[in-house]
Symmetry: C2
Subunit: 213 residues, 2 copies
């Protein structure tokens, strides 16, 4: 959709990988639609996944008993989070669509992506999310490769849902390293195809009844 | 149990935290039993959570298209993983009991702990785990604080189960920052109490039927 802003949070070490191709396909297709696309290439940025006191600039609220949740909340209010976090949060706030793209490591996102979640979506900022949501634009879309344990993903969808974000169905490419070159090309085409009509998709239900049984 | 080796993989920034106290209590109780206790204090060690080519010493198997899984497997076979990984793997191999201790960040372990899982339990090494298991000694015990989303934990238990490790029931202290000092002391005592008879516990079932429905 022309004029829309997209943020792709991307975690793969190798541009020549299948993940790299999926990312390129998304940038091309969305740009063709007139979207402005930003990629946070976490490995290339050497994004810091560890949540430490370095994330707070200046004095701590309570330096005798460091609590990351408390300190991050206070620092967010005062505008004292570290620059790398502020930059990522700005990208999130401006985005109409977020795409998380990563291979699965132990049924879950790689640590570098989990670190993005832990640090960028800190308390304070995360609680402000519903305001973005109210503008009716922010959406999340998670692209999970090699995924066979869907349960796990439901809980990550839960994070975004909790933040007040609409979540679209995940797009999963199963074991691309074990299929033919032709099949991989089909996967890339299917991804580009889905992106053409992504804006019309309905969000999935992240609070299914069985989830709380 | 006298003579047994315990590895506590611990992820909290603050020694004065409730997490810090739980760790101290475990070291004291297990040492009293005659165990030899090792703590991998991930934040203090500044443990690297990012899985990159720095984890492979020397030439890569395929430097044109870097695949972490492939490279780590090859490097493990040749003994060419980076030193920090080899040291952690040695601790795991020697341990009769593993304890993972962390606060929950977004319903899951902090990125620094996920990075330990991603990098230490790499393919190759992880697939050798059943050998440890066959000695009949290796056990895993996960201590998840602030946990209210048990589903998520099941999938982490799945990692260890997949590696051939017996998993004990998690020990959960709910929202220690929101209870009284007295209640927190009771939580510490309950943890020490459990550790007294931990060796007699039966593993939990990590492949429950409903999990694969």
């Amino acid at each position: 959709m022309a004029g829309r802003k997209v943020l792709i949070v991307y975690a793969h070490q190798e541009p020549n990988s299948f993940n790299g191709s999926l990312k390129t396909v998304a940038v091309e297709e969305l740009s063709k639609q007139g979207c402005s696309v930003t990629v946070s290439d976490l490995y290339a940025m050497q994004f810091e996944p560890r949540a430490t006191r370095n994330d707070i600039v200046g004095c701590l609220h309570n330096s005798d008993n460091f609590s990351y949740a408390v300190e991050a909340t206070e620092a967010y209010k005062r505008g004292c989070l570290s620059n790398d976090l502020i930059e990522e949060q700005k990208k999130v706030q401006e985005a109409d669509l977020l795409i998380f793209q990563f291979p699965l490591y132990w049924f879950s996102m790689p640590a570098i992506m989990k670190g993005w979640m832990d640090r960028v979506l800190v308390q304070g900022f995360a609680h402000d999310f519903p305001m973005c949501y109210d503008t009716g634009l922010l959406k999340v879309y998670m692209s999970d490769l090699f995924c066979f344990l869907i349960l796990e993903q439901v809980s990550y969808h839960g994070i975004m849902h909790f933040c007040g974000v609409k979540v679209l169905e995940p797009h999963i490419c199963f074991a691309p390293e074990h299929v033919s070159e032709e099949k991989r090309k089909e996967m890339l085409i299917a991804w580009a195809q889905r992106l053409k009509t992504l804006w019309k998709e309905e969000p999935i239900n992240c609070s299914a009844e069985w989830y709380f049984k």
